[in-house]
Amino acid sequence: MKPEVRIVTISKQLSGRWTLPILLHIRTEGDRFSPLQKRLQISPSRLSSNLQSLINEGVLHHIRAEDRHHPLFPEYTLTDKGRFLKEAAHILSASEQQLNVGSLSQKAWNWPILMAIHHHCSRFNEIRGLLHTATPRILSTRLQELKEINIVSKTVVLHPTPASSYTLSQEAAPILRTANEDLLSIID
């Protein structure tokens, strides 16, 4: 798998309102539902459904009540994939703090779009091609939103045919470069 495809895939996996916060807050050695819920300030039902999604995606492992040898032992542990994504979550979180525009990972496709542009996909269809499953409508909406918060710049190129060209803003480009390098460094 090409590095840019791998990076986009990782950033897709970390998208979602609670994915990044859960991975940042869950203890590396595993965690119990109750303390995690209190740290995240999330409703029990929402945490429960998010944890179930992460289990289904192979990020977390749920330890059954009859297999826990002590009530203080974890109910949820990170899988190998989960430990890797937790490291990646720290990288994206640090970049979000530097970008200072709030949590980009909360909305689907923000990070994959930024990574695609970083990897020289400047035309709409090039970005879409790398993202694979994003609809034109959602891609267009996200690009507009990223432009409005000055992370992405849009210019109109006239040759060979008139089209929009997307680049990272001067402020965002070095942050995305570091994020990309840091993600590449943790890929096996």
Binding site: F33, R39, A65, P71, L72
Partner: protein, 121 residues
Amino acid sequence: MFTSGFTIWYNVTNVEQTLKFYTESLGFKLDFHDADNGMASVHTNTPDCFIGFSEATDVIPSKASAVFEVTNIEETVLKLKETGISFTSDVTTIPGLVKLATFKDPDGHDLELSQTLNGAE
């Protein structure tokens, strides 16, 4: 080999509700309560004997009874019933040995009162 000290740990669904039961209904003393981590323990009236609680999403009620010794089981049963505790058995006597009465905590963990009999009773 062993030092003085004995603790039973239970998974519970709500540590505050459990603490209310063990401190207010049974009268045990709070040892510690860490609300952020959903854990607590109470000190039974036996030295170095504690019951610990940890919140969990799946709680399997324990069938291994924690047994508390009392001096008069009938009086204790009446007193605990006044606090709202429902007993799951009448007082049962094993002649010459012990009288027993069973009840459950809010998560269904089995608990028991025991009055040791001397041989003549």
